[in-house]
Every structure is written in structure tokens, then in C-alpha cells.
């Protein structure tokens, strides 16, 4: 056990954490970055599709600009987003993408002359003009008025992460991989670093830091194997913040499901398959989406498709398998040539993981957890509610540009934009701060961490199995807190999850080998994961409306009169249940209206937008928002959207 000091402690080496670390390192601070895995193995590397930034470079992107991106983002969020944050985001995204080009990302470029694209399954030829030759080009993504997603062939996240990590290496930033942050060190509402456990040796270290950044990614793994996320996306950041008893998590019930997770592995099969004309079939080989959505068919919005798929399964039209029921994604009619070129990753995934040839056999798929809109609630400077000196960025955070549904490509863009913007704030604040905490505080947090481990090791070697609890939680969430939800099922889920949490008491460790014991590592995470699961289920039960990805069949209306707000969940010290409160979504500029796709039932606001905006800042303060460097609303571009009114009429396509 030892105590170390550093200026800035960044927990998480994905895109958000690394981009944030660069900002502080460039400002001359001593930065330490902790990660479960070597940074390049973070889940950011798995994103294939693209990163949204309104550069407007190709023909189908003409006339695009940040304000249009802002509009798409707020509509996509079903008005759950903080509109000021969405503004900052949309305006910074082009700079972030160009900076990545400067660092070496091989963005796919505009090829002048005739280009062949697939639009709604049809081959279309478009002439790209000579004067745009060699600029960063775009592809089509869901819920956007323009083609806006910048991409690097089929490996956008990989290419971006390698470029950013290259910068981290060039700057000589201290990166400690195979190190897990296990507790935040804090005192009187001020965070002073974290305790970490080395995943090579098991050694504990207390890191004392002037600023601490959570960049731990999403928490899809609370859904166990039913997620597209990597095994390491277990929500550590949210758990660390929650355990302080002070910091709330925002909108944990907002969970995005992707229609086509491969069965049984859960690996993402890209939406491009349906974009290019793939069919969804039930056990009888019937194209059910044609009946369900005659207009948009397989290309209805992601939440809508997922709901119809689950409906087919519930009505007995699913295909039985050892891994539960599924449906088919049929690409056979697209032909081998198309599949092996334009959909190469899909071809490889089918071959490698299911040993199947998609030109000869349909692909088994089912909707599956994909993205966590919820996370550590922060203000626009990225500082956590109720905890000075603690920041959160990327998927771990609820900065809140995604509201109840994030658009495809907005997540990668968020990681680098937030890394830049919040990273700059962190660097400024760190320069002004001094490490005024006594080592006694660090000692006591270290002692607590050691005791926690000792308590696990002292348990009888019989008892329940930690992996069984994990699997139980996953199946409760997957069955009852899934694509669509009802009050009855959610109530059962809440009760069952409480039981699962009690079951942890009876878990024993069968091994307690020296060094890093993988079973102990899993055991130390389980309590936090069950808490996240409970908050997700309770939040979903309480929110008696449907908004974005939160679809209640018993409350199908989006209710702006009562629910134009953000759920905040705290777990008070010693409490045995979370405490929910609700704050305004932020200042409103674009008034709540029709998204142009998805559900149509709406109940209007009862107060005027003026009134809502008058109350919002003080209410948010009362809910724990810390003061920001610029006052709330300073970055709003009031009414700028009025010149860009549009209604996206195409179906939403997300990656």
C-alpha cells in the first residue's frame, strides 16, 4: 500500500480520458492515467460507423452546419438533452475532427467525379465536385438532415483511438494499464483522487490529485452477455461516483438497444445491412416489418424496429435456440460480391463467430443493449454535481447532449469534444488548485479498501457464486428492463434485483489465490453493478411516460407536462435504496415538438418556455449543479435554429 501524488488523475484510457489527459499534459500538469487495459484496447476501438461533425463536404452534406447538427441532436434526444451542451458540442465537433486529422487519422476523403452510393437499398450515382477533392467526406447516419458522419473506412473508433494514443505517447503521459480505480478519495464535498488496485499484483495505491476525471465508458455489462459492449464496460465510473453518497447519476433508465446483435455472441451487426436492403424475418420466413411499418419497413427507427422484433418473439414467432429466441437478418439477396466488399466486417463477423456465409444463410439476431445515455451527472464544465474537483467525460458521463436517445456517430464525437472542452477546464482549475488534503484521509480510504478485500477473502469458500449473481441480474434486466417496458414487469424487476443484492451477502469466493485473483476482482465489482441495475429499473418504473429509448407500453405518450426533466439518482450513505429526484433538462430554445419519426403521442408542456427557463438554473443548483465558469446559458445561440427549420423525414439510423 502506498500513497502517490499527481496533479490530474484520469481514470479511463478510452477516447474521452485520453483526449482530456492531453489537455492537462499540454498545459504542463503532471498527469496520471489509469486503465483496466492498455488504452488502445478500450472499447472506443470497436466503433466502426463514424463520428458526427458538420463539415458539409460531400454533395449530400451540402448546406450542413453546426446549428443543423444541434437541431438533429435535440430532436434525437426527444428533448431530453441540455440544449446548451448540445450547442457547444455541435460547434466544437468540426474542430475536433480536424484536429484528429492533424494527428494522423486517415479520414476517408472526397473522391471527385462519379461516386456510387446506396440510398434506401437503391444504387445511386452522385457527382462529387472537383473543388471538394480530398476533404473529409461523410456517410449517412440515423436521424440526421444531412450526411454528416466522418469515418475512416470500417474502423473509425480504432483509427481515432490510435491517433489520440499516439499523442499521449508523444507527450510522454504516464499511463498505468491493468490498474483499477476502486474508490474515490473525498472529504467535505471535494474529491482528492482515488484508491486503485493493480490487476497484475493486487497492490493498493492511493492517488492524491488536484483534479480527478472519470472516463470509464458505459455500463452495458450490467446486461451481462446481452450487450454489444466489451467485457470491461461495467460502469466503474458511475459506481465510484455513486458510492461517494453525494454525486447523482443522470437518466439511468435511458438505455439504447440495437436491433441486430448477433446471436449468441451479442456482437454488433451494423445497421448498414438494413440500410443496404437487408430483411428481417421471423421463424416462418415472414418479413414482419412490412406489416408492422408499411412505410419504412426494416428501416424504421431503431427503437421502433427493436420493439417489433421483441413483439414477434413474445407472440411465438421467434426462432428457438439454445441461447433463447431470435429472428433472422437475411442478406442473401444482396449477393456475395456486395457482402464481401461493402459489408466486409459483417462478412468477417459471420464467418468468424457463427461459421456462416451470409450469402447462403440468414444471420441470427436479436435486439440488445448498446449504449448508456445515463451516467455521472455533470454541469457544462464537466464537473460532477455535489463534488468539487471531480469531472466526468465520455460515455461514463451524463453531460447530457443525448437525452433519452443518442444519435449514431454522436458518441465518438462527444468523447473528443468533451475531452477538449472539459479537458481545458480541468487544466485551468488544476492550475489554480493546491493539494490541501492530509495523508490521513488517503490512509483511511486505503485502509477501507484493504478491509473490503479482507472481508471478501475471509468469506467461506462455499456459498453462492458471484458469476451466478451477475447472470441473474443480467437476465432480469434483459427480460424486464428491455426494449419496451411495463409497470407490472418493472415492479417485479425491482423486487428481484433487491433480492439479487441481498444474495451478494451469501456469495463466497472459491479461490483466494495470491496476487490478482479474477474471482475477487469480479466480486469487488458486483455490489456496484447491482446498484446500477436497481437504479435503472426504479428509474424506468417511476417514469410513467415514453421518451426516446424509454418506451412504456402502459404509458405510450411523451408527457412534456410532467416529464420534461432529468432523473437524478443518489445513493445516500447507509441507505438500502436509491433516492430519485428530478431536475429540469436545462434551458430550452428549440421548443418540444415532433421528432419527425418514431412515436407521435405527445402531451404538451403546461408552463411557457420562458417560465421553464426562468426556474431552470436555480432548480438545477438546488439539485447539486456546481457553479460554472460562464453562467448558465452563456453559450446558447438563442433562436439560431429558426433559419434552419427542418423535419427529418428519413428513418433514424444509428450506429
Amino acid at each position: 500500500m502506498k500513497i502517490q501524488t499527481t496533479d490530474v488523475l484520469v481514470i479511463g484510457g478510452g477516447l474521452a480520458g485520453e483526449r482530456c489527459a492531453i489537455e492537462s499534459a499540454t498545459a504542463g500538469h503532471d498527469v496520471t492515467l489509469l486503465s483496466l487495459v492498455p488504452p488502445r484496447r478500450s472499447h472506443s476501438c470497436a466503433a466502426q460507423g463514424g463520428m458526427q461533425a458538420a463539415l458539409g463536404n460531400c454533395v449530400k452534406a451540402e448546406g450542413d452546419e453546426p446549428t443543423v447538427h444541434f437541431l438533429d441532436t435535440v430532436r434525437g434526444s426527444d428533448w431530453g438533452a441540455d440544449q446548451e451542451v448540445a450547442t457547444i458540442f455541435a460547434h466544437e465537433a468540426p474542430v475536433a475532427v480536424r484536429e484528429l486529422a492533424h494527428w494522423g487519422v486517415p479520414w476517408t476523403r472526397v473522391r471527385p467525379g462519379k461516386n456510387t452510393y446506396f440510398i434506401k437499398g437503391e444504387k445511386v450515382e452522385i457527382e462529387e465536385p472537383e473543388e471538394k477533392a480530398g476533404l473529409i467526406t461523410h456517410r449517412d447516419f440515423g436521424g440526421t438532415a444531412k450526411w454528416r458522419a466522418c469515418y475512416a473506412s470500417a474502423g473509425t473508433g480504432h483509427a481515432v483511438l490510435y491517433a489520440v494514443d499516439g499523442e499521449v505517447v508523444r507527450l510522454g503521459i504516464r499511463v498505468l494499464d491493468r490498474v483499477e480505480a476502486t474508490t474515490l478519495i473525498h472529504e467535505g464535498g471535494r474529491c482528492w483522487g482515488a484508491v486503485s488496485r493493480c490487476l497484475r499484483t493486487g497492490e493498493l495505491t492511493a492517488w492524491l490529485a488536484k483534479s480527478t476525471v472519470l472516463a470509464t465508458g458505459g455500463h452495458g455489462r450490467i446486461y451481462g452477455q446481452y450487450t454489444t459492449n466489451a467485457t470491461i464496460n461495467e460502469g466503474a465510473g458511475a459506481v465510484l461516483a455513486l458510492e461517494t453518497g453525494e454525486v447523482p447519476l443522470g437518466n439511468m433508465e435511458a438505455v439504447q438497444f440495437h436491433p441486430t446483435g448477433l446471436v449468441p455472441s451479442g456482437i454488433l451487426v451494423t445497421e448498414g445491412c438494413r440500410g443496404d436492403g437487408g430483411f428481417l424475418l421471423n421463424r416462418d420466413g415472414h418479413r414482419f416489418m412490412v406489416d408492422a411499418e408499411p412505410e419504412k419497413q426494416e428501416l424504421a427507427s431503431r427503437d421502433v424496429v427493436s420493439r417489433h422484433m421483441m413483439d414477434q418473439i413474445k407472440r411465438g414467432h421467434g426462432v428457438a435456440s439454445d441461447f433463447g429466441e431470435h429472428l433472422w437478418l437475411d442478406l442473401r439477396h444482396l449477393g456475395e460480391a456486395h457482402l464481401r466488399t461493402k459489408l466486409r466486417e459483417v462478412w468477417d463477423i459471420c464467418r468468424d463467430f457463427n461459421g456462416l456465409d451470409p450469402s447462403k444463410a440468414p444471420i441470427p439476431v436479436r435486439p440488445i443493449q448498446h449504449y448508456s445515455m445515463g451516467g455521472v451527472r455533470v454541469n457544462k464544465d464537466g464537473e460532477a454535481y455535489g463534488m468539487h474537483g471531480l469531472y466526468a467525460v465520455g460515455e461514463a458521463a451524463c453531460w447530457d447532449l443525448h437525452g433519452f436517445n443518442r444519435l449514431g456517430g454522436n458518441s465518438l464525437a462527444e468523447t473528443v469534444v468533451a475531452g477538449r472542452v472539459i479537458g481545458a477546464r480541468v487544466a485551468e482549475r488544476t492550475a489554480a488548485a493546491s493539494l490541501s488534503v492530509s495523508t490521513d484521509v488517503a490512509q483511511s480510504f486505503l485502509a477501507d479498501a484493504a478491509k473490503r478485500i479482507a472481508l471478501w477473502r475471509d468469506r467461506p469458500t462455499t456459498g453462492g457464486n458471484v458469476y451466478a449473481v451477475r447472470d441473474r441480474v443480467a437476465s432480469i434486466l434483459n427480460e424486464k428492463v428491455g426494449v419496451f417496458r411495463t409497470g407490472d414487469e418493472l415492479e417485479v424487476a425491482v423486487t428481484e434485483l433487491e433480492q439479487a443484492q441481498r444474495d451478494i451477502q451469501r456469495v463466497g469466493l472459491r479461490s483466494s489465490g495470491p496476487g490478482v485473483d479474477p474471482e475477487l476482482t469480479a466480486a469487488m465489482r458486483i455490489e456496484g453493478m447491482v446498484r446500477l441495475a436497481r437504479i435503472t429499473a426504479i428509474g424506468a418504473l417511476e417514469r410513467t411516460e415514453s421518451r426516446g429509448a424509454h418506451a412504456r407500453t402502459d404509458h405510450p405518450t411523451r408527457d412534456d407536462a410532467h416529464w420534461l426533466n432529468r432523473t437524478l439518482a443518489r445513493w445516500d450513505a447507509e441507505a438500502d435504496a436509491p433516492r430519485l429526484t428530478y431536475e429540469p433538462v436545462g434551458l430550452l430554445d428549440l421548443p418540444p415538438g415532433d421528432r419527425g419519426y418514431g412515436q407521435t403521442l405527445q402531451k404538451s408542456m403546461e408552463v411557457s418556455i420562458g417560465r421553464y427557463n426562468e426556474c431552470a438554473p436555480s432548480e438545477m443548483r438546488a439539485h447539486g449543479a456546481l457553479p460554472t465558469d460562464e453562467p448558465m446559458g452563456a453559450r446558447m445561440l438563442w433562436g439560431a435554429w429558426k433559419g434552419h427549420e427542418h423535419r427529418p423525414t428519413r428513418p433514424e439510423r444509428n450506429e
Binding site: 487495459v37 486517415p106 474502423g155 483509427a159 457464486n465
Partner: protein
């Protein structure tokens, strides 16, 4: 519908012979331990190893993250050959499956090796980043790049640093400073990039010794084991051409 159902008739009984050693445990000795498991449909080594850990031996160490062949965490020797475990289906293997950690890299425990430190060291050694020609201009249009060139750079960028090529390389196994196929590929990737300020002479300094391009004996043990099918042969030929050109230049001056 006549499609392949996800069920198997009679499962095979698989025998896994797994290398075990925990350097943190003074009483641990390197050995192989045998586990048996009923095969399940579409079982990958990711699924098999997790089942062994969860059902039979909770202390077993191995690494997976993405489980979709993109993060590079899970390289190991499968029946003696370096490959990714997560995209290896047991049905493509015999009933006895031997699993060992990748050589060259430092052993963390059992099947887990420290590729992260090796690759960070390599990145520092070869300068695996863009040396900028001028500072970034936040509000200027991006520098243009030919679409085909961007594609060619991307081809080299696809390396996932899994270490299979390093483990399969005779030179890397004896010379710890040799950057290996992954390192040579990375150098070629940055040499091709017009955004990088380094000249051929600068690169010559970095790579023209036995730790770099002239250390490679060109027998291509690396090429066949790369799970991402990188054009390692081409990258190596490109580098040799460039470096021999630079060497001749140096002789003349």
C-alpha cells in the same frame, strides 16, 4: 424454413490443456492443467475459457475485452500457433486443445501476457505518432488528402497490436529490441503519411539497424499469423526499398 438452427446433435467432450503459472505465487510452478468441457454450439475460446473459470477454476487468468476481434487483447498460442482466442471457434479445432501464453511478452499469469508495455515501448522507439509540420489551426480547413492515399494509410492503421506476429517471429524471440512486423508496419504507415514532418533520413536513423528493418530476415513467419490479414509483406518491401534508397543516398554524400 430451411436454415441452420443453432443446435448441435451430440456435443463433443473437449479437453483443454492449459498452461498454468502464477508468478505472484511463490508456490506456483509452470505446468499444464487439463480441463474438460462439453462443447456448445458456436463455442469460441472466449466462451470456453470463461466457462472453465466460472465453473471449474476461478483462479484461471486470461484477457478478453471486445470479444469481437478488434481490441487485440486475447492473443495466445492455440495448439502452438499464435492467434486470437475470441474469434476461434472450437468446432474448427480437434477434441484436445492446447492453450499457452504468447512468448516474447512478459507473463502476467497463465494465459495473460503484458502486450501493453511492449507496444508502448515500440511506439516510443519508432516514434509512432505524427511529427507535425506546423501547429494545428483550429479554424482552418483541413489539409487535403487524396482518397486513395487515405485508404492506403488506413490499411497499415488496421493493426490491432495483438502481438501474434511478434510471438511468431524468430528474431523477436531472441532480440527484445527488435520492433517486429507490427513495428515495421507502423513505421511504413507513418512514412507514407504526408502530414508527417520526418524525412527519409530521419527515418533511416530510427530504423536502419538490426532492431529495425535490417533485423528482419524476411521469412514471413509473421505474415500468416496476422489475424487482421495486414499486408505485412508489402509494408516490409516498401520499407526496404525506401531504406536501401536512403542508404545509397548516404553513401554518395
Amino acid at each position: 424454413m430451411s436454415t441452420e438452427m443453432i443446435t448441435l446433435e451430440t456435443p463433443r467432450r473437449l479437453r483443454f490443456e492449459i498452461f498454468r503459472f502464477n508468478p505472484e505465487d511463490p508456490s506456483s510452478e509452470p505446468h499444464h492443467q487439463t480441463f474438460e468441457l462439453d462443447e456448445q454450439p458456436f463455442m469460441t475460446l472466449y466462451i470456453a475459457l470463461n466457462r472453465i473459470r466460472e465453473e471449474q477454476d476461478p483462479s484461471l487468468q486470461f484477457d478478453f475485452a471486445c470479444r469481437s476481434a478488434i481490441c487485440g487483447s486475447c492473443g495466445m498460442l492455440v495448439n502452438g500457433r499464435p492467434r486470437l482466442a475470441c474469434n476461434t471457434l472450437t468446432r474448427d479445432l480437434g477434441e484436445t486443445i492446447r492453450l499457452e501464453p504468447l512468448p516474447v511478452f512478459k507473463l502476467i499469469g497463465d494465459l495473460s501476457v503484458d502486450t501493453g508495455t511492449w507496444f508502448r515501448g515500440m511506439a516510443e522507439q519508432v516514434g509512432g505518432w505524427i511529427e507535425e509540420k506546423a501547429p494545428f489551426q483550429a479554424h482552418a480547413e483541413e489539409e487535403r488528402m487524396d482518397a486513395d492515399l487515405a485508404q492506403a494509410i488506413y490499411e497499415g492503421e488496421r493493426c490491432i497490436e495483438c502481438g501474434c506476429c511478434i510471438a511468431g517471429c524468430g528474431v523477436a524471440n531472441v532480440n527484445p529490441d527488435f520492433v517486429g512486423a507490427a513495428g515495421l508496419n507502423r513505421i511504413a504507415r507513418f512514412m507514407r503519411d504526408p502530414r508527417d514532418a520526418r524525412s527519409e533520413d530521419d527515418w533511416f536513423e530510427v530504423v536502419s539497424d538490426e532492431n529495425g528493418v535490417f533485423g528482419c530476415i524476411g521469412l514471413m513467419g509473421c505474415h500468416d499469423v496476422c489475424p487482421k490479414e495486414l499486408p505485412l509483406l508489402e509494408q516490409y518491401a516498401y520499407l526496404r526499398r525506401k531504406m536501401l534508397g536512403a542508404a545509397r543516398e548516404e553513401e554518395r554524400t
